[in-house]
């Protein structure tokens, strides 16, 4: 077996295991740490799927940004010196029924379909992949790119305004 194949299955297993153990985790902090494991394994899988730029963005934005923000949220919504909050489970029957049936339908559909490409698969050029991605982004996708920048600015300003404390809080 090639090393790349071993790495692919290893990271697939890591992503699936960390996601599955998120179900049984009762503390939000450990949940955030498991989310980092899952997202980094997904970044490795992206590299093996010839999507280097997406992988780097995944590491920078998800593992570096979103998980840190989630950890801040966990720490800001916990009282200092108190035992960590144990997350309760609710809606067990409906949730397990919905998720299991969705998984069964998806796996059934995947098993019945052959996804091997019709034409002889030419592998992607890995030589200038990131450069090519940059060209495509700034040439074909420049309008969505700029709109995404505006959306990000609006969302972050809105988040700062919402999270800012005002004087008449009920609790404080």
């Amino acid at each position: 077996m090639e090393p790349a194949t071993i790495m692919f299955y290893f990271f697939e297993g890591a992503a699936a295991l960390s996601a599955a153990s998120l179900i049984f985790i009762r503390q939000v902090f450990y949940g955030a740490l498991l989310l980092i494991v899952c997202l980094l394994s997904l970044a490795a899988i992206y590299i093996l799927a010839f999507a280097e730029f997406v992988a780097v963005t995944q590491i920078l934005v998800y593992a570096g940004g979103i998980v840190v923000v989630i950890l801040f949220g966990v720490m800001l919504t916990a009282k200092i010196g108190e035992k960590p909050l144990v997350v309760q489970h609710g809606n067990l029957f409906g949730g397990i029924l919905a998720a299991a049936s969705l998984l069964a339908v998806l796996l059934y559909g995947l098993a019945g379909h052959d996804f091997t490409p019709a034409t002889a698969a030419t592998t992607m050029a890995t030589q200038n992949a990131v450069q090519e991605t940059g060209f495509v982004m700034m040439r074909d996708f420049v309008l969505p790119f700029e709109l995404a920048g505006m959306l990000l600015l609006m969302a972050l300003v809105g988040a700062a305004v919402i999270a800012a404390r005002t004087k008449n809080n009920r609790a404080s």
């Binding site: 692919f8 998120l22 489970h89 998720a99 796996l107 995947l110 698969a121």
Partner: protein, 104 residues
């Protein structure tokens, strides 16, 4: 070398189902956000995997990038709302928050 597409899709199905399960059963707002992140990542994995079939196009990867950007916005606004409701109600259990307006 291209890895079999089936494996990507099975992993994506697992991630999406786990995300849905987390959103439904966890009674904590941040765990529900983590579930939503897992579902968005499952969609991203599908986009990147199917992009391998078309080596001369990068549309799938571009869509994955924009999904990541929208996920950032969603997480930032969601956590701001969670923080605000926590300061107001002293709880982060979504079921315990039944009203949004401050009653006079």
């Amino acid at each position: 070398m291209m890895f079999p597409l089936q494996h990507f899709l099975i992993l994506s199905a697992i991630l999406f189902s786990v995300g849905l399960l987390l959103v439904v059963i966890k009674r904590h707002a941040i765990m529900m956000l983590i579930g939503i992140e897992l579902m968005l990542n499952a969609a991203n994995l599908n986009l990147v995997a199917f992009n391998q079939l078309y080596p001369n196009h990068r549309d799938g990867q571009m869509f994955a990038l924009f999904v990541i950007i929208v996920a950032v916005c969603e997480t930032a606004v969601g956590l701001a709302i969670i923080l605000r409701t926590y300061h107001f109600y002293q709880t982060s259990v979504p079921d315990a928050v039944a009203e949004l307006a401050d009653k006079p």
